[in-house]
């Protein structure tokens, strides 16, 4: 048996170590944000947001094509993924008590862990190969497929937070079950579901791998869904690997814009969700 003092000292030491672990875990976030601000902020000017990429050698140029491309592709992803994902979430919350619900929940979690590049290949076989060319549409569908399992789980959680008394009140007033579910329960959870969408969108907006062989990327400004389209993370990737300092400078600026987009979305969502959980 060790002495009491030694045991307590060891305990304090290890407690201190957990403080250290937490500090060390947060350090990369601080360093990354700091570097992005230092290296990226200087290149953010009017041209960056209004001009498209230019061939190397010409001065100027910006990320306008990539920013618009990301907005379009993410918009497409929402059009595909949100109705299906939210629908599955409502199913899990309303009818997910049995074996089927358990199985679907399980598949959603497993699908959530499937690498996004595999989803990218799948979208390629279904949309790019039959159509014969890369397209923004395929990129949007690929991101949409990633949205679905995430949304299913967050929606389920949000719908479950709705107090049962609301449902009972609606049923007692003679509402049919489906109308109770849609117009009372889901509507009450709407704010929560929306924030779930924000979190999910924040995640897919930064996805690069599924776009590599679907949207492909595009040097020029394009809003054609049938053709290749630029996207913010894709352009950051290409510019970061490129050999020119000018490209690296713009890659940092693009990364800064991307992370702002993602962090603002997820921080807003997180605060709302946290507030809701505490109320429930």
């Amino acid at each position: 048996m060790r002495g009491r003092l030694i045991r307590r000292l060891f305990g304090s030491l290890m407690t201190g170590a957990t403080y250290g672990a937490a500090a060390l875990a947060i350090l990369p976030l601080a360093v990354i944000l700091g570097m992005l601000l230092v290296k990226g902020a200087g290149s953010l000017d009017w041209n960056f947001f209004t001009k498209s990429a230019v061939p190397f050698g010409e001065s100027g140029g910006g990320f306008a094509n990539a920013i618009v491309g990301t907005l379009i592709i993410v918009g497409l992803a929402c059009a595909v993924g949100v109705p299906i994902g939210v629908g599955i979430g409502v199913f899990l919350a309303e009818f997910g008590g049995g074996q089927l619900g358990l199985a679907i929940r399980f598949v959603a979690d497993v699908l959530n862990g499937v690498p996004s590049i595999v989803i990218g290949i799948f979208a390629w076989t279904w949309l790019v190969k039959p159509m014969g060319h890369f397209s923004a549409l395929a990129g949007g569908v690929a991101l949409g497929m990633i949205l679905v399992p995430i949304l299913a789980r967050t929606t389920e959680e949000m719908v479950r937070l709705v107090p049962n008394s609301l449902r009972e009140a609606a049923l007692a007033l003679g509402y049919q079950r489906w109308r109770t579910s849609l117009q009372v329960v889901v509507r009450t959870a709407a704010a929560g579901i929306l924030t779930g969408c924000l979190v999910a969108v924040a995640r897919v907006a930064g996805e690069t791998a599924p776009l590599l062989f679907t949207a492909l990327g595009n040097q020029f400004f394009s809003t054609r869904l049938q053709g290749p389209m630029a996207a913010l993370p894709l352009q950051v990737y290409v510019y970061a690997l490129g050999p020119y300092d000018e490209w690296h400078r713009q890659a940092w600026a693009g990364a800064l814009v991307l992370i702002m987009l993602v962090l603002v979305l997820s921080l807003v969502a997180r605060t709302v969700v946290r507030a809701k959980r505490q109320h429930a």
């Binding site: 862990g113 590049i117 679905v148 930064g206 791998a209 992370i259």
Partner: protein, 334 residues
């Protein structure tokens, strides 16, 4: 006055027969039936998607399966020009870089989870947890960018010149260090999986009943001893699940790894040498595949990756669900 027209009242209050009431009940439930069917069909899309992905990967990989068979997994030549494909370096690199990531991330993540549930002052818990979760929100390509321009120079110019005096003799640190390497990939992956492992282990530790904790303290254990002898053993299954979940993330991570691992088809035990992973190979070669066989080979490694991540995630979910049954554990880390 006595002969009130009966017809004026009758339509207002018809006496429904049993059959009519039954019909009325059935028409009410038709909406419910449609609602439920639509949602069920949507839900069934998920398993369908998994099956479709598997079918597409396997059927597109068939040419490579027929030509190379299982030897595909054991050979290490990858020569698209001569049509020779062996996936050993890719599989090895995928597992090796993920293992390095876990060795770095697991102690840190456990420390964070213990800190957040046991030791941190209450006011500090939410902000620290949020900051760690935000690590998971940083896009992978930004980690890659940071890896190329910050981490690799840091490792090459500051870490290794000092560390070589201590570690230089070990076989896993042999050879010349140029920068892009399994080590760099492992460090980046560690940062990327840390928030997942932390978030899930934290929820597992939170699920440990307070009575267990109190019993430990009442027996005279210090708070740290309570953690190691009571709380961690109680949540062991869930914590192992959390680690495996982190492994699943690391195995499939693409962009950041592609940017720092060096992308060379080679099996080397040295952490300082470049390597390659399945996901990175697909990212680099897929849209520029030189032949149908090349494409089939990429599909085959894709199928292998898919299979591995499905197994790993299934295992993780089973372990985590045992502790926190059916709840969306880890969903906060998304």
């Amino acid at each position: 006055m006595t002969d009130v027209p009966a017809t004026a009242l009758e339509p207002l209050a018809p006496k429904p027969t049993a059959e009519e009431r039954w019909r009325a009940l059935r028409t009410v439930s038709r909406g419910d039936l449609i609602y439920r069917s639509v949602l069920t069909v949507l839900a069934l899309l998920l398993p369908l998607l998994v099956v479709l992905i598997a079918v597409e990967l396997v059927s597109n990989a068939m040419p490579a399966v027929h030509k190379f068979g299982f030897g595909f997994l054991a050979h290490s030549t990858w020569d698209p020009v001569r049509g020779q494909f062996g996936a050993l370096p890719l599989i090895f690199g995928t597992l090796y870089s993920s293992l390095v990531a876990l060795v770095i991330a697991v102690p840190l993540a456990l420390g964070c989870a213990i800190f957040l549930t046991e030791f941190a002052p209450r006011w500090l818990r939410t902000p620290v947890a949020t900051l760690i979760e935000l690590l998971a929100a940083v896009p992978s390509v930004i980690y890659g960018l940071w890896g190329i321009f910050v981490l690799i120079p840091l490792l090459r110019d500051h870490f290794w010149p000092v560390a070589r005096h201590v570690l230089g003799e070990l076989p896993i640190f042999s050879g010349v260090f140029y920068g892009p390497s399994v080590l760099a990939a492992g460090v980046i992956l560690a940062v990327m999986v840390l928030p997942y492992i932390t978030a899930v282990s934290r929820e597992v530790l939170l699920a440990v009943p307070p009575s267990q904790r109190e019993a430990g303290l009442a027996l005279g254990a210090t708070r740290w001893e309570t953690v190691t002898t009571v709380i961690l053993p109680y949540g062991r299954a869930g914590i192992i699940g959390a680690v495996i979940l982190g492994l699943g993330r690391a195995l499939g991570e693409t962009m950041a790894v592609t940017m720092v691992i060096g992308n060379r088809h080679e099996v080397s035990a040295s952490l300082l040498q470049p390597g390659y992973t399945i996901a990175a190979a697909i990212a680099n070669e897929f849209s520029e595949a030189v032949s149908d066989m090349h494409l089939a080979a990429l599909f085959m490694v894709g199928a292998v990756l898919f299979l591995i991540t499905i197994i790993v995630n299934t295992l993780a979910r089973v372990l985590v669900w045992r502790v926190a049954r059916g709840s969306a554990v880890g969903s906060t880390a998304i």
